[in-house]
């Protein structure tokens, strides 16, 4: 057996009311690399991502889950799971940057203070470390008390990444993190991911196949809620086994 999977999905079926979004997904995501989930719109990528830190709990519709989602071999939907702790271990960055209506500094420390951390020097240290990690420190170090909203779109998204990293997550889920960004900001976000992939498992839903190919270590192709193919990026994007993957990657549909 290879290295133990960080995240594993076993026969996962997921439905909103009676509309099944994910059909029988089996997936092993190894630790400390960039794992890309790609496919056309409506394939269930975002749902799969939201399942991994149980944001699906807040769906206004009724949801049905079958199968198992394991983080380090532990079922995250088991009744004794501490959901807050789970969301700290598996953080999330969204498509639209959502700085909270707070200062840059408070945005970063928000997650920590929720957990009751008040110690100023630890918090300051975290702010600096997280902003460095998200490649934003140099741009904002002199104005940490400005509102997060005052930053540009690209900076906001890196702020959101820094905010997630502040909790020292093991897994970071990114849902089209660069869809609203210009190419330079996109590059900066991608660089930040590359810098960190030694120590964090990134699961990325990219906003284009090109980005998928650019950042992925491994990738999985989802189509209409079905996992078509999964494998190392160099194989998946150059010599896919499945005809559908090849057609999508080469742009014949999608």
């Amino acid at each position: 057996m290879e290295t133990p999977a960080k995240i594993e999905l076993q026969h996962v079926h997921f439905a909103y009311e009676d509309h099944e979004v994910l059909h029988d997904i089996n997936l092993r995501i190894p630790p400390n690399q960039i794992f890309v989930l790609f496919g056309p719109a409506g394939s269930g990528k975002s749902t799969l991502l939201r399942l991994l830190n149980r944001l699906t709990d807040f769906s206004p519709e009724e949801t049905h889950l079958q199968g198992k989602v394991l983080l380090d071999g532990q079922d995250i939907f088991a009744p004794d799971v501490d959901v807050t702790r789970l969301r700290q271990r598996a953080g999330m960055v969204f498509a639209k940057p959502v700085p909270l209506p707070l200062s840059i500094r408070d945005n970063i420390t928000y997650g920590l203070t929720l957990g009751g951390r008040r110690d100023r020097s630890t918090l300051d240290e975290t702010v600096e470390r997280s902003l460095h990690a998200a490649a934003l420190w140099d741009e904002v170090k002199d104005r940490l008390d400005d509102p997060g909203m005052a930053l540009s779109g690209g900076q906001q998204q890196r702020l959101c990444l820094a905010r997630t990293l502040a909790l020292q997550p093991e897994v970071v889920l990114l849902d089209e993190p660069t869809s609203g960004l210009d190419p330079i900001s996109t590059l900066q976000v991608e660089e930040a991911l590359f810098q960190l992939r030694e120590s964090v498992t990134f699961i990325v839903v990219p906003h284009s196949v090109q980005q998928a190919a650019r950042v992925a270590d491994r990738a999985a192709f989802l189509l209409m809620g079905e996992l078509v193919e999964e494998g190392p990026a160099d194989v998946l994007f150059t010599r896919p086994k499945d005809k559908r993957t090849e057609d999508y990657v080469t742009g014949r549909f999608g």
């Binding site: 944001l55 953080g91 999330m92 940057p97 959502v98 909270l100 209506p101 928000y110 997650g111």
Partner: protein
């Protein structure tokens, strides 16, 4: 711009006098709204200004309101209004925002569908009816359980005013929270916030400009309200000196004007002073609204209150 002027060309050629007439009428109506406000203020000034010649300032700034004996101290009236209003705010704001949170964030759908219309019905109760309920049902309770010498006290007025302001505060505050994008909540949840932490630290701050407006509208209603206050506050013009004052009668500016205007000889000093009270009320309301506007403007400039980036 070009398309607009191009489409206007033919209509002007036909000399559409109807168009012109309608435009002028609408303009007149619009201007008349402004003129009315200006006239009201001018009228207040005209009737009230004589006060300054007839009554020395030291008397107006005095602590006694006995018009029959020539004491026209406005201080107890202003304090009375403030006392009752502050009490109403202290009661209605936490209650109103709390109910809004419950309605918007916590209550299950079917319950909300019953609660919302019910609350809106409260807004339709005429204030004299509320005053009636206050006198008969509520003030005995105050006397019995809070140890006040009489049931007609400032706090009685505050509670009833709070009740009147509640529907406004609740429905506007709830709308404001409803307008906070789902993405904010998701972001907070994804950082491990619980439902309550999300409401308290993300939803409420994001909605604060709307909530502030809700509170201001509620306060505006409370400070200008007359009938209920006149019926239940006991109308004794005294200066509050301690917290105890909530359990004593108070006399507000509005109640004073309403109660005395009918009795007073037109053109007398007392008559002029009552207009002075009106001017004071006008200025006070204006100041409160101005403060709210400034606070709102500040919080928006800091980027804190903005809903969408």
């Amino acid at each position: 711009m070009t398309t607009a002027s191009a489409s206007k060309e033919p209509s002007r050629a036909v000399v559409n006098w109807r168009e012109f007439a309608v435009e002028q009428i609408v303009r007149l109506l619009g201007l008349s709204a402004i003129a009315l406000v200006a006239l009201i203020f001018a009228f207040l000034l005209k009737e009230g200004a004589a006060t300054l010649q007839e009554v020395p300032l030291s008397n107006l700034a005095g602590t006694r309101w006995y018009p029959t004996f020539g004491y026209f101290g406005l201080v107890p009236l202003v304090m009375g209004s403030l006392l009752v209003t502050v009490g109403a705010v202290l009661i209605s704001v936490p209650l109103g925002v709390g109910v809004a949170i419950y309605l918007g964030e916590i209550a299950p759908e079917p319950l909300r569908d019953v609660l919302k219309p019910t609350i809106e019905v409260i807004a339709g109760i005429p204030s004299v009816v509320l005053g009636f309920i206050g006198v008969l049902a509520f003030s005995p309770l105050i006397r019995q359980y809070l140890g006040a010498p009489t049931g007609l006290t400032a706090i009685t007025g505050s509670v009833l005013l709070a009740y009147m302001a509640l529907p406004t505060i609740i429905s506007i505050a709830e709308d404001a929270m409803d307008a906070v994008p789902k993405s904010y909540r998701d972001a907070a949840y994804a950082l491990g916030a619980t439902e309550w932490q999300t409401i308290w630290r993300v939803v409420l701050p994001s909605a604060r400009s709307g909530i502030l407006i809700a509170i201001m509208l509620g306060v505006g209603r409370a400070i200008g309200e007359t009938m209920t206050v006149m019926m239940v506050t006991g109308n004794a013009a005294r200066i509050p000196t301690s917290l105890d004052a909530f359990l004593r009668p108070a006399r507000t500016m509005t109640a004073t004007i309403a109660a005395e205007m009918g009795e007073v000889a037109q053109g007398s000093t007392h008559y002029h002073v009552l207009f002075m009270v009106g001017i004071t009320l006008f200025v006070l309301t204006f100041l409160i609204n101005a403060f709210a506007a400034v606070a709102l403007f500040r919080s928006e400039r800091r980027g804190g209150g903005r809903l969408l980036s």
